[in-house]
């Protein structure tokens, strides 16, 4: 970049040039330079690669990615780092403060809080994985089928979604849980019924938008089959949206599980989930605040990181959406 001053000097110099002497060959016609007419100055890379470079610049998202990796690793190895199991009670050692023996203390049954927290994290991550899978399988399929078939099928499928949206999710989940025993299976089924609706709607509208795009028309004019359109055009062009929305569903699902467990509809003792632990901690917080603090930190960490990562991914995958 030239500074302001140098630009001005340069322009001033131009006026003198007219009186200046030129080389003999200055005024030879050399014509155009074919090679530099169509030069592409932009670096060559796919949109996903560009997105990754943008994501790497987002400090919050990268930090979240690191923290999430640590949390995931801890969820896997954490419970095995000491000799206690999550359900092992020790009535001699109830409500112990964090110490070298029990790194994060013990609860009212003398169970090791460290082990229980990482067990709970496992549950949350299982829920996260489940939510993402459901989004991917049911949500994407439902939305894509609805949009691709269109017409009457789409109409019926949309009515079903409208009814599902018309009922608050939580009410639906609570009713279901009453039908079955509270527990991980029940929560899983409840999420199967409700967790994918948002994704289905987003995918549907995206596919509808794509359907009228000229590159899809061009492909159809070339005789592309529906299968080919899906594989070659629809999937690659909705992938970004799907990933971003999946990342937003995850914290919502983690919250739902913890919430249900907190009000006693989710996992039951002696199983540990972050919601159960927070409920226990809440009951005991007056005198044993650490029992609330650590599970709260883990769940907040999970949710903040997933949200920040989702934000970052959205900005990176679709710079137009960036505000």
């Amino acid at each position: 970049m030239m500074s302001n001053n140098s630009v001005k000097e340069y322009e001033a110099g131009l006026e003198d040039l007219v009186e200046m002497e030129f080389d003999e060959n200055s005024f030879e016609v050399v014509g155009y330079q074919k090679d530099s007419q169509e030069i592409i100055t932009r670096p060559q890379m796919s949109m996903f690669k560009e997105s990754w470079i943008r994501l790497k610049k987002n400090k919050g998202a990268m930090l979240s990615l690191i923290i999430l990796s640590i949390l995931i690793v801890m969820a896997i190895i954490g419970p095995h780092l000491n000799e206690y199991s999550y359900e092992q009670t020790d009535y001699d050692k109830v409500f112990q403060k964090p110490s070298s023996e029990h790194w994060l203390g013990t609860d009212r049954f003398g169970r090791d809080q460290w082990t229980r927290i990482w067990e709970g994290t496992r549950i949350s991550l299982y829920i996260a994985f489940l939510a993402a899978t459901l989004d991917l399988i049911i949500g994407v399929m439902y939305g894509a089928v609805s949009a691709l078939l269109g017409g009457r099928v789409d109409n019926v499928m949309q009515r079903i979604i409208e009814v599902l949206v018309g009922i608050p999710n939580l009410i639906l989940i609570i009713l279901l849980i009453m039908l079955m025993k509270p527990g991980i299976v029940t929560i899983t089924i409840a999420m199967v019924i409700t967790g994918w609706v948002n994704m289905a709607r987003l995918v549907r509208s995206q596919v509808f938008k794509l359907k009228t795009q000229e590159f899809i028309l061009a492909s159809r004019a070339l005789g592309a089959s529906n299968g080919r359109l899906i594989k070659e055009h629809f999937i690659p062009n909705t992938l970004g949206l799907i990933i971003v929305n999946m990342m937003f569903t995850i914290p919502a699902a983690i919250f739902t599980e913890a919430f249900l467990s907190f009000i006693g509809l989710g996992l039951q003792e002696p199983l540990a989930s972050l919601g159960v632990l927070i409920n226990d901690g809440f009951q005991a917080m007056r005198n044993h605040f650490y029992l609330l603090l650590f599970p709260a930190l883990v769940i907040v960490g999970l949710m903040v990181c997933f949200n920040l990562l989702a934000d970052g991914l959205r900005d990176a995958l679709d710079p137009k959406m960036k505000k």
Binding site: E162, V163, G166, I167, P168, N169, L170, I171, I174, L175, M178, L179, P251, F255, A258, F259, F262, I263, G264, L265, I278, G281, F282, M285, R286, F289, L292, A296, I299, V300, M303, V304, N307, L308, D311, K323
Partner: protein
């Protein structure tokens, strides 16, 4: 517009019928319900007949369903199993006060703070203000409300003793739960306001307004704000949901005698009629909110108002 309202109202009634029927049949299937055959096996023939008659269980299920629906129309939600002899509708009536107060306060507080934060972020786009506000918003949606409520109670209530920890004794008891409920609202509104305003600020008509020579503030108030605030009505739906869910845990944590804690308590004691009644109540409330949002949006945004009335 009229046609639109009629269609929507019919839709709402249909949805409510579906929910009511679902709850009814669900309850018939539920294990451990008072209607469970096994539970009644111990009773004498006479007692059983009497019990059946009392709850109308001697009739075919279709008739029972009919009676149930008829009662619903009359506003009769049935008798609670746990609170002996109390009608569910009167339970709701007794308990709705605190919940409504908290909800209303949370909406007002959340909206005002959220709007202010969102606007500051939009006008100070890409500055520390903006980043700070968005950080608050992410934290706001990320911290589960029950964790936040518990922390509030611990620090402000217990440790520092500034405000009452729990129970419904004076107005000051409502402060902490209101804040806890409002947090999510603040986060949602702040984020939405900011994004909408940034969107509107990029529109061509803002440039037209500037080219008229309007002052900065005139452009903001007459063109930017109005157009970015209209869509905010649309997130009232999600906000209602977050308040309904929030009330379940927060009323419980702060020991508030509202319908949220009633709901959780009835779940714990398997008070089926109350759960059913509250489910219907919540659903109706939510659906009505959505309807009001749609209608309001239609009234406020001339594009919708006028196209609808044409067709």
């Amino acid at each position: 517009m009229k046609k639109f309202i009629v269609v929507r109202v019919v839709n709402i009634i249909l949805t409510l019928v579906v929910i009511a029927s679902a709850t009814f049949f669900l309850m018939k299937l539920l294990p451990g319900s008072p209607f469970d055959e096994e539970k009644l096996a111990g009773l004498s023939e006479e007692a059983r007949t009497e019990f059946y008659a009392k709850y109308g269980l001697d009739k075919p299920i279709i008739i029972q369903y009919g009676i149930y629906m008829e009662n619903l129309v009359k506003g009769d939600l049935g008798t609670s199993f746990y609170f002996k002899g109390q009608k569910v509708e009167s339970l709701i009536k007794d308990r709705i006060g605190p919940s409504a107060l908290l909800g209303l306060q949370a909406v007002i507080l959340g909206m005002s703070i959220g709007l202010i934060l969102g606007m500051i972020a939009a006008f100070r786009h890409n500055t520390a203000w903006d980043y700070f506000t968005m950080f608050i918003a992410v934290i706001g949606v990320s911290i589960p409300n029950f964790v936040f409520a518990a922390l509030l109670q611990y620090y402000i209530g217990l440790k520092w003793g500034i405000l009452p920890v729990a129970f419904w004794e004076s107005y000051s008891s409502s402060v902490l739960p209101t804040i806890a409920l409002a947090m999510m609202v603040i986060a949602l509104i702040a984020r939405f306001t900011r994004n909408e305003m940034l969107e509107v600020l990029q529109q061509d008509y803002i440039l037209t307004a500037k080219s008229k020579g309007l002052s900065k503030w005139s452009v903001i108030f007459n063109h930017t704000l109005r157009n970015s605030l209209i869509p905010i009505i649309t997130i009232l739906g999600p906000i209602t949901v977050s308040l309904l869910t929030g009330s379940l845990v927060i009323e419980n944590i702060f020991g508030i005698p509202g319908i949220g804690s009633l709901f959780v308590d009835s779940i714990k004691v398997n008070d089926y009629t109350t759960i059913m009644g509250l489910t219907l109540f919540y659903s109706a409330f939510y659906i009505l909110t959505i309807l009001v949002v749609d209608l309001l949006y239609g009234i406020i945004d001339p594009r919708i108002r006028l196209t609808e009335s044409k067709g």
